[in-house]
């Protein structure tokens, strides 16, 4: 059980699961399975996520927006992806933070009712051809220069805080700050 499970900070009946896969051979097939509705999940480019905490911040916000009827996108799983991106264009978000057909490292986030979440995870595991690893490996997979570019992190900002703090604040404040 290398995945991690959280209860939503405001809605304890909502579960958030994170799982990391490496050496994935069939990213395209996995993506198609999600698009065709076989199971619900956010498929994230592991190299763009410096820390799992950022995904919990994004998923936490996505679920809250869903409950309040304030989602920007159509589903909670696309909302997680959108929240994780720095911009406001949904297609850009999918391009930058979502997996592409050639990606081999995939971070999966699933949010919802516990039973459904576990079912989706099972379905995902039956489709994905790759090695599930500990989320601790995430930091070693990060492409820091791409991350810095996406979130426009400067040396000045990083002199007083970590990329995680800088990015978490941007995600949490996404609908408030004007870029």
């Amino acid at each position: 059980m290398a995945e991690k499970k959280f209860h939503h900070a405001l809605y304890p009946d909502t579960t958030i699961i994170l799982a990391l896969f490496r050496d994935v051979e069939n990213a395209k097939e996995v993506r198609q399975a999600v698009m065709s509705g076989k199971f619900d999940a956010s498929l994230l480019k592991a190299s763009m996520i410096v820390d799992e905490f950022l995904v919990t911040v994004a998923a936490n916000k996505a679920v809250h927006s869903q409950r309040c009827g304030k989602m920007i996108t159509k589903t909670v799983h696309s909302e997680i992806l959108y929240n994780l991106s720095a911009g406001r264009k949904i297609t850009e978000a999918f391009k930058k933070i979502g997996i592409s057909d050639t990606d081999t490292s995939v971070l999966v986030a699933i949010a919802g009712e516990e039973e459904k979440v576990l079912q989706s995870l099972q379905a995902l595991k039956s489709v994905i051809k790759g090695r599930q690893v500990s989320l601790d490996e995430l930091s070693s997979l990060a492409d820091l220069s791409a991350v810095r570019k996406e979130y426009k992190l400067t040396d000045v900002e990083l002199s007083s805080c970590s990329p995680v703090g800088a990015i978490a604040s941007r995600i949490a404040a996404k609908d408030i700050i004007t870029v």
Binding site: F6, A9, L10, P12, F53, T56, V57, N60, K61, H64, C68, T154, V156, E157, L158, S159, S160, C161, S162, G165, A166, A168, S169, R170, A172, A173, I176, I177
Partner: protein, 241 residues
Amino acid sequence: MQRTFFKQGAEAKLERCTFYGKPCLVKERFRKQYRHAVLDKSLTTQRIKSEVRAMLRCRTNGIKTPTIFMVDMETNSIYMEYVEPSITVREFIADVQQNQAGDCPLLALAEQIGQIIGKAHQSNIIHGDLTTSNMLLAQKFQGDAQSTEKFTPADILQKNIQDLEVVLIDFGLTALEGTPEDKGVDLYVLERALLSTHPNTDHVFEAILMSYKKNNPRGAAEVVKKLDEVRLRGRKRTMVG
């Protein structure tokens, strides 16, 4: 999520909790009963937005503020990093004075405070409520070399000020653009707060101003001129009674 009461402020209730494993502080603004409900909601929303924007703008300009975890407009709450271990600048100054530790730590602290306010003003951020309780002293950020050594707030007092960093909090009265007059008032509020809370700190404020001038080279002259005017008005007011 288990929340425990932390502090009751004039505008908000503060509670502690953990947010996906991280120490967290929830600042929930409460309704002002004397205000019309719709107006109150819209003013509160605006305040929260300004507060969050100022905190982010500070960060991008190299001024440390708590990380934001979540903004919940439904309950008028900001969930932010609980900075720990930390003590307020107020506690630090009181401790230095009580132990007669001399001026060195106070002047080094003044240098940091002047730097922060100078940078903030240069980036057009007016804090609005600069007091020694609204500045925390925490372990300096050291990037990847961040030590994981656990220490308590009391340990902070044993640290060299060079190893500590001022974290600016409570942007409840912030404004995100300001005239030199607003900046002068910002400094005046700090001067009054400092001198009234901590006896014999005139020279500390002078040191803050020196550092401020260095760090806001383009704007400082005009701001200090305004500060002098505001001081004069303040004095006249107290003379009248």
